[in-house]
Each structure stands twice: as structure tokens, then as C-alpha cells.
Subunit: 404 residues, 2 copies
Amino acid sequence: MYIEKILPDIIRKNEKKILLMVLDGLGGLPDISTGKTELETAIIPNLNNFAKRGSCGLTIPIAAGITPGSGPAHLALFGYDPVEYQIGRGVLEALGIGMKLGKEDLAIRGNFATIDEKRVVTDRRAGRISTEENAKLVSMLQAEIPEIKGIRCTIRTVKEHRLAIVFSGNGLSPELSENDPEKEGLPLRKIEVLKPEADFTGQVIAEFLTRVEALLAKIDSKAKTILLRGFSRQPEIPGFEEKYKLKAACIASYPMYKGLSRLVGMDVIENLSSFEEQVNTLLKLYDRYDFFFVHYKKTDSSGEDGNFRKKVFALEEFDRLFEKISNLQFEAVAVTGDHSTPSLLKSHSWHPVPIAIVSPNMFSDDVDRFTERSCARGMLGIFPATNVMYLLLGASLKLNKFGA
Amino acid sequence: MYIEKILPDIIRKNEKKILLMVLDGLGGLPDISTGKTELETAIIPNLNNFAKRGSCGLTIPIAAGITPGSGPAHLALFGYDPVEYQIGRGVLEALGIGMKLGKEDLAIRGNFATIDEKRVVTDRRAGRISTEENAKLVSMLQAEIPEIKGIRCTIRTVKEHRLAIVFSGNGLSPELSENDPEKEGLPLRKIEVLKPEADFTGQVIAEFLTRVEALLAKIDSKAKTILLRGFSRQPEIPGFEEKYKLKAACIASYPMYKGLSRLVGMDVIENLSSFEEQVNTLLKLYDRYDFFFVHYKKTDSSGEDGNFRKKVFALEEFDRLFEKISNLQFEAVAVTGDHSTPSLLKSHSWHPVPIAIVSPNMFSDDVDRFTERSCARGMLGIFPATNVMYLLLGASLKLNKFGA
């Protein structure tokens, strides 16, 4: 991004603290019967008061019309160009179940699948086997295949037929084609080496699959092989300390967000299960960090379920607990979402996301409700999510003057 | 910038005239006791009426969160990408005291400094000597060192311990390291040649410093050497005539803004000290140019002083004199600032800056006050300052259709 060219010359450390609160999937769409969104329906006096005190706007997660996954949406909020720093599917799958990745590790997402004697894929999900069966298979495979050619294999269950595999060691490369034919009734594809640097990795993967298939052949299961997809390593990404001179903490409960935060160099606080625990942790750690990322999951999961009422309740729960942090002396607090998840669509969406920022160095505009339509009239305007970090840095006086 | 790729194909000359009025450091922040900004406090009926007649918005000087210096902020308003065209510190220092620079000239900013017999810097500002003493030293040095190896030396006092030096001649290069150790108690650094093309310049500078130190050694002064910083040449930048087909005049009183205007090919009107003189000059020269840049300084200097009342008065003074130009037949008039200088912060800031543009070819929106919060609701939206010139060109029908 344009702005990153000059950032190293102007970033400075000071004592001021920043809080970024992300309500996952915050934005919604109007309910057909009431004409009101989840935010417009919820009773959220603390968020409304926050909006009243701050500058409001809408953020565009990636670009007009583009629906983001959680990875790119969070990277954008953290100030990284989500198109420049793309995170592979294998890495996301591994981060999503809390696997820790080294810089050189190769992460892969897998499906247990059924093949016939001619190696034609007859079921890409092996009858959508249960998570329990998956766990048993993974446990057996892990015990039998701890390593291949000096490369450590870590195999973990995700859910149903899905698993994640991480290979650790030297000389690995993601430059391989996938074996998934993408349609049932077609033969398993051969995994091709796409660049010479991946020759060795190709041998490791080939031996891995041979051994997996031999082991699965001995037992009674629809799982006969693994479709391997999303070969990837984590991107080389400058961390918060290097890029922003911020000592940063992630206060999240879900593995994916913790993994993304670790990727950008945040300290990840572990063993937080409820949002109340997260808020209490923020209160407790306030003195120890310059920057806090607090992640609230329920707004997204209820939206994905298409459960409008549940999303309204999730907003109201957030609102009640949000009050507890109102006495902390942050120089800049942003409350926003990573993307919209309208209950109406039961999925992430591209719609711009409400944001309010409160800082003694910013304006209170005339927006007094924290909703999509109110924030659209705020004085921050409608702007790329990648600007959020820069607004927070500017508001907390952490950016020196550019030029004289 | 994106837009510059097509500009040469569509720019056209016509008889219509453009006025760009820049109130330096225009934007502010609310006073803690009243909750109102300088613009919201000032009585500015003419500016409010102008906003009412025009299209309003907020400009982003460089990018979200980035506080600009005067150089990049003005270049942006003039339609030049301020990150692409960075102006060195030496050039800015020289322009700031009205020195004229040729394309090949090397400009340097200097500090008179004290060193001990071991060449350790004991005072980076030579006891912050008076401007008078500085002027005496500079006069002596200038007389004794008119040139070195065929390169003309021009030495000028800036203020207190600060001076500017311009070397003129062939074969100069800014690729040298600085001799300033940046901390007292450390030895003077050796000036290193960073690229072979700067070999000759390195010799010139070395001889310059040797002669300066020999001359200073003979007199009773804390100034014993000069710390040389910000070696730079002016960027090669297409001028207004070439880029926009505009014959442009700069009506400013401060040297820095005149220097920047000269850099982009404007005719600079000299010997203007009051804003009233500037306005009268505009009236007088109206027939002679296509484009006028009028610069008003007091809003910035009072903001930098942290003097809220004085900034309010400065706005009111501008407002009174602004009325005098209301009968001129400009096709497009913009009133804006280069950046914000909130009295609250006593410095430049990153906050978007109010703008209003009046043109028979534009809309009057429903903004009727020229303030930060009102302009945020204007129909120009919140947009990069580099767009201002293009809006003015468009409004004055100086851009042909792009494509058929």
C-alpha cells in the first residue's frame, strides 16, 4: 500500500494506548418484516453512546462488492493489504484449529475421501464421516506416520471429513498441484511438482499418501484416501512491533483469530472462553500492552446461522459488557467489525461495516446511533478497512509529520 | 497517480480562470470548554455564504492518519503525488528563506555547532547563537568562500544557529551521508560518498568544511563547525504550464510557499507582506493569469502557537478580505487548507480539511457553514487533496472527454 512506503520514516513509539474491538460479522441487512437491521433492532445504549461521542463511518473490508473471509478481513483491519498478503487455505485451516506454524512449515487442508479400485473418487467426503470417526483415523495415522524423510508430520482433525496436516522441516515448498479432481466420478489427480524447488516435497507427499492409503485399506471405513488442498506456508509479514512499534495483545477465544494475531506478532492470551473473560482480561492486562485486539465471535456465528434474534442478543450481550471498559484511558478506541454477516444472507457479505472511533484528538460528529445507516452519515465517511490502523495511530499521535 | 496517465491527452486551454485559496492549517479540533472548533467559533459570514453557494467536502492531505509538512501538503493541493515527489530538507530550507534553486543545485541545511579539540560535538546548536551573530558569521564565510573547485557557494542565515547552503555548478550529487552525530558527546561523523557519482561533491564538501572550520577557529564564537544535513536537489517536476496548460501566479507572502510555487512553474509575485496586499494584487492581476494560488498564513501560525482566539481572529480577518474578491468572474474558486493545525495540538495534524468549491458548473449542496463537521456532510465527500486540481480543471471545462 501507498502509505506503507512512508510509514517506517514516521512511526514513533509513545505511551498512548489503542484498543481495537472487532465484532465479527457486525453489519447486517434489514429484516424483511420490520425493515430494521440487527443493529437497528438491538437495544445497545452503550454502543450508541460511544458512537455519539466519537467519529463514525463505514469501512470497506476489501473492495466494493467483495465478500471477505475472516483472514483477509482481519488482515485489512490490522493494516495489511489483504490482496498483497494472501494466506493460503492450508494455513488458515491449521490456524483455525489452533495449530502453531513455523515460518518454513507447509500446511495442507485435507478431506477424507472414498476411492474405488481404479482410484476414481466416488465420494469426496467419505460419506461425511463423523468427527469422532475422523478423530480415530487421525489418531491412528499420526501414530503410524510421525515423519517422512526427516520431515515431521502433524495431522489434526478439523470436523467431519476435514483434517489439517502440517509438515515441518527444511526444504519444503508449496509449489505442488492438488490431487482433488473436484468432481466425483473422476480419478484422483496426480500431484505434480510445479517448480523444481518442490521436488523433495513432492516425494514426501507421495510417500505420505501411499502410506495413508495402505493404512486406511486395512480398516473398515469409507475413508480410503485424503484429498490434499491448499498447500501453503504463512506469508512473510512484518509484525506489529516492527511495523507499528506496538506491543500488541490478542484477546480472542477462537483459534483462527488467535492464529492470525500470532501471525502479525501479537501476544496471544490463551484459555479465554467467554466474552466476559475476555473483557476481564483486557482490564487486567491494560498496563502491559500498547495495543489490544479484542474479538467478539457471536455476532458472526448467529448471522451465519441466519438467526436474526440471536444476532440481536449477541449485540446486546456485547453492549452490556462493553460498559465495563469505559473507564480505561485509551487514547483511541475503535469499535467495528471485520465484515458484515447479515442474518438474511446466512453468510459473510461485502457490505461496508459500521465503525466508531473515540479519541480526545478526534471529533464527535452528529451520529448518535451505532447502526449501518447512521454511521454512513458520519464524518469518517466510507473508507478502506486498511485505513483503520492509520487512523488509530494518528489519533494516538504515533505518526510523525511527513515532510517539512 | 492514476489520473496523470490520461491527463496529457485530455487537458485543454481555455479562457476560464481558476482561483485556489489556501488557508494554511485551516482545520481544527473542538475547544475543550466550548466543544466548538476555531471555524465553528469564528464569525465568518462570507465563508459560510461561499460554502452555501458551493459544493463542500473534506480533503485528506496525504492519507488516513498522516500529518503532512507544508511541502507535501501543498504539492498534493497542486495535484502532485506527495509521496512520488518528495522534497528534500535542504531544498525546503533554502526555499523557505527565498533562495532560488536551479535544477542542478545542491541544497543543504546546516547548524552552526560547537566541537572540542577531539572533534566531539559538544553543542549541536553552538549555544543557540543569535540570528544576528549567525548573520555576521555567514557574511564572513560567504565573502571568504565564494566558490570551491568551480562550484559556487551561496550561504544564507535562516535563524539562530540555522543556515542554508546552496552549491551551484555541474556534476553535483546529493548521495552523501551527513556529519551530524545527532547526539552531543559524539564525534563529528565523516561525510561518506554513498554512490560513486558523488565523489566530486564529496571533495567539494570536505574542502568547504575544512575552510569553514579554519575561518571559525580564528574568531571568538561558539560556532566551530557546521553540521550539514538534508543534502538534496529539487525534484524534477512538470510545471503548471506543461501539465495543466495554465499560466499560474502565486500570491503568497512567506518564502516557503513562494519557493514551492516556483518549483511547479508559477510566477511568484514578490513583496507582499499583508493579506490585504495579497488580495489587492489578485484584483490587479486578475486579467493576466489563468490560475491563482493565494496563500494565507495566519491560520497556521496561530494554530501552531496553540492560540485558539488568535486563530479565530485570523479566520475572521480572512473572511472580511475574502469579500473583496466576490465580484471577480472565476469559473472555479476553491477555498481550503493544506492541512489542519488544531490549536489544541499546537501542531499540524492529519485531520481532513474543509473545502468548498464554487463554480457555475457545480452544485450548491445543503452545507451552509464552512466548518469541519458541516463540510463532512457535503456532496464532494471526503477525498484526497490531489483531486482538488482535477475538480477545478473539470469545473472550468479544461478537461476534454476521456474516450469516445
